[in-house]
């Protein structure tokens, strides 16, 4: 199954954050990427993107 447009865009954003969000000098943790993952998991948009008819 091909990625839907929404899921594809989301994946590109996460991939970009994984590479471009450098941990700050104050913290070795990539908080931007971690926050986006949490948003991803809590997003209803993702659930719809993966399973369009799930909530019917």
């Amino acid at each position: 199954m091909a990625l839907s447009t929404d899921a594809d865009a989301l994946l590109k954003r996460l991939q970009s954050l994984s590479f471009s969000s450098k941990p700050s000098s104050a913290s070795p943790l990539n908080t931007a990427f971690r926050d986006s993952l949490r948003d991803f998991a809590e997003s209803h948009d993702y659930a719809y993107a993966v399973r369009p008819n799930s909530f019917n």
Binding site: S18, L29, N30, R34, L37, R38, V50, S54
Partner: protein, 191 residues
């Protein structure tokens, strides 16, 4: 019961800062199958893990399918080492004080896994694999043409496999599907 009520996406963190995003399987008593990547350093496994997760959660396997981000400050897979028991959480917190923020989260020991997959999609034609014999055997049943390489890849708590190449997602999802049925059958014999 609608399908939506049967399939959940669940977010959890452990006290090493690892992030688990679980798509629930049909048997919640089985250990989940993890698709892993690094959280704090650039990870080429992000696309393969996410695409595999999407395909597999849509199928709803027997086992949970888990997107698992390992804590990895400075490129060191600290989260995996704590999960595996080769590093104490207290040692990780001492070395990386920022990880103390997760001290109130659940102990890594509560997160049982049936297998750990690293699915790394590259431009290389076909796929290559390395890892634990039980997962290599599973892979060879589903994708017999995949080249198998020797590896020291291992974990004390779960079998591990790394799959690389253009077909990594296709091969990885087939192998996860087969292995999920295998785990369900294995534990079904004890019921």
């Amino acid at each position: 019961m609608s399908r939506a009520s049967a399939i959940l996406i669940q977010l959890q963190q452990d006290h090493a800062g690892n992030i688990y995003i679980s798509g629930t399987g049909r048997d919640r008593e089985l250990g989940g199958i993890a698709l892993t990547f690094s959280l704090d350093t650039p990870s080429l496994s992000v696309p393969g893990a996410f695409q595999s997760f999407q395909k597999l959660t849509d199928s709803q396997l027997e086992c949970d399918v888990i997107l698992l981000g390992w804590t990895s400050p400075g490129g060191e897979l600290v989260g995996r080492d704590v999960w595996d028991g080769s590093l104490q959480a207290s040692e990780a917190w001492e070395k990386y004080p920022d990880l103390k923020a997760f001290a109130g989260e659940e102990d890594v020991s509560t997160f049982a896994l049936s297998a750990i997959f690293d699915v790394h999609q590259t431009e290389d034609v076909g796929a290559t694999a390395s890892g634990s014999p039980v997962l290599i055997t599973a892979l060879q049943k589903e994708a017999p043409t995949v080249k198998v390489k020797d590896s020291s890849l291992m974990s004390k708590r779960a079998p591990v496999i790394s799959i690389r190449g253009r077909d990594a997602v296709q091969v990885g999802t087939k192998t996860v599907t087969w292995y999920s049925e295998y785990v369900a059958a294995l534990f079904g014999n004890f019921d």
